[in-house]
């Protein structure tokens, strides 16, 4: 395959990574933005989403689409609910103190991870995609008769990968609408700005925090359900999404949703393209270098505001 089609293929792979990463990172960004909590256990909520997806699909049997559709609902709700309980049991008790929440979420990370190891086992387990039609992609070539459409061998994707991109975009649009257009979003924004004044206007901040922590974890779980037919579920799969989400959130600006999405697209596409042409390790090195540069030259991130 020539360079052009190869680049298109890499870009498509990158777009799938970017879509899933954006969902995961937006969850992390929401939690930090509203609660000022650096949730180190976020990757484990992602992993739990994948584990629940496998469990639901395995338990239900039948056509893969049935299990997958049920997992799309069950995993975010179950993981979000678990996160809300963890917020009530742990984070609320330590007063959402920034330093102590880091230690507490590290503890949560190990509890969830080891719990998954005990309950789910050490094996990687596949989840069948609900549909997976191979779609050949066209390429435009300049020939003797001018521009013409060709179908290079190997330039193809699957209907499921396109679905992942579209589904993630739709969910992100929903999150944006929730934050910018709904009463719940207004309440979350007010709580983010001034917790005490939110209380002074009858906003039940404790419930808002539990809801946001649950929503953040639910988004990570949803991202995992989308990617698990491509990647497989494994109890150690939370590490990479956590690292990449932190990278994305720092580049985009802590707590900034548009910044997070833009940075996810940037990092996801870079990861996809560099991984295809060079190596996944180089992709991670480049992402980490980018974070270092952002921290030196624009510590507030691309869209973050300076400390007020």
């Amino acid at each position: 395959m020539e360079f052009g089609p190869y680049l298109m293929l890499a870009t498509l792979e990158g777009a799938v990574s970017a879509a899933v990463l954006a969902l995961t990172a937006v969850g992390l960004s929401l939690v930090f933005g509203v609660m000022r909590v650096v949730n180190v256990a976020h990757g484990e909520f992602f992993m739990l989403g994948a584990v629940v997806a496998w469990t639901v699909a395995h338990w239900l049997g039948g056509h893969p689409a049935l299990g997958f559709a049920l997992a799309l609902v069950v995993a975010p709700v179950a993981v979000g609910g678990l996160a809300a309980v963890a917020d009530w049991l742990v984070l609320k008790r330590i007063g959402y103190d920034p330093e102590r929440t880091i230690v507490a979420t590290i503890g949560l990370l190990y509890i969830i991870q080891q719990g998954a190891l005990m309950g789910f086992g050490p094996e990687a387990r596949p989840v069948e995609p609900p549909f997976n039609t191979r779609l050949a992609l066209p390429w435009i070539e300049w020939g003797e008769e001018g521009l013409r459409l060709v179908w290079p061998w190997g330039l193809a994707t699957t209907s499921y990968k396109l679905f992942v991109i579209l589904a993630a975009a739709a969910v992100l649009l929903g999150v944006w609408a929730l934050m910018a257009r709904s009463r719940a979003g207004l309440v979350m924004q007010a709580t983010r700005e001034d917790r005490e004044m939110a209380l002074a206007f009858a906003i039940p901040v404790g419930r808002v925090y539990a809801g946001v922590f649950g929503l953040g974890a639910g988004l990570a779980a949803l991202a995992a359900v989308l990617i698990v037919p491509i990647q497989q579920a494994h109890y150690l799969m939370g590490g990479d999404p956590l690292l990449l989400s932190f990278i994305v959130v720092i580049i985009g600006g802590l707590g900034s949703l548009p910044g997070t999405v833009l940075a996810a697209v940037l990092i996801g596409l870079t990861d996809g393209i560099v991984s295809v042409f060079f190596s996944p390790t180089l992709a991670k090195i480049l992402a980490t270098l980018l974070v270092a540069m952002v921290l030196v030259f624009r510590p507030q991130g691309l869209f973050g505001s300076t400390a007020r």
Partner: protein, 231 residues
Amino acid sequence: MLRIEAVDAGYGRAQVLRRFSLEVAAGEVLCLLGRNGAGKTTLMRAIMGHLPLMGGAIRLEGVELSALPPHEVPRQGVGYVPQGRRLFGDLTVAQNLAIGLMARGQGEETREWVLGLFPRLRERLGQRARTLSGGEQQMLATARALCLRPRLLLMDEPTEGLQPSMIEAIRQVVARMRDEGVGILLVEQRIDAVLAIADRVAFIENGRGGEVVPAEQLRRDHALVERYLGV
């Protein structure tokens, strides 16, 4: 209306209010005077439930506010205009008002009433609160609290840093609220502002309640002002 009964409150182990007692009647402006650090803002935060009490009780028309979770206090009809305004700066004027309206389920009628009191805010509805001038921010902080249709209004230094025309606008609104039967507890540093609006004046010194006198007595009794404020 508001009864503060032998309240002890503070931050961690540092006790600020010591057996502080006070009463505010409906339709009264009671002004709390005291030096910096005397405990005025601590008292406001204690009433709002932002500081847990170490002792005593705070009641509003028989309901023990200090036994409620903090977010239930405004639902009892307590409006709060904090020191430094503390608006939701990234939200627009309209969104700040919406937060106030939601607190007690108020609707369009209340919104129109509040905008009638502060017509300038109507021209700024789509503007982010942090971009308003100081006077407009104070108007918005007051308007946001009035969106609750409060029975009791707590105002912590509402004239701080404002030009005379803005102070007069705030004073007129306070007078109107008093006439409508709202009890107002006002923390103020400026004696002239106190004299212009207060019915009674309560003094606070080192977290303890001092004398409570009619406002006119301040004009005559300079020793009182000197004793509590050192001016």
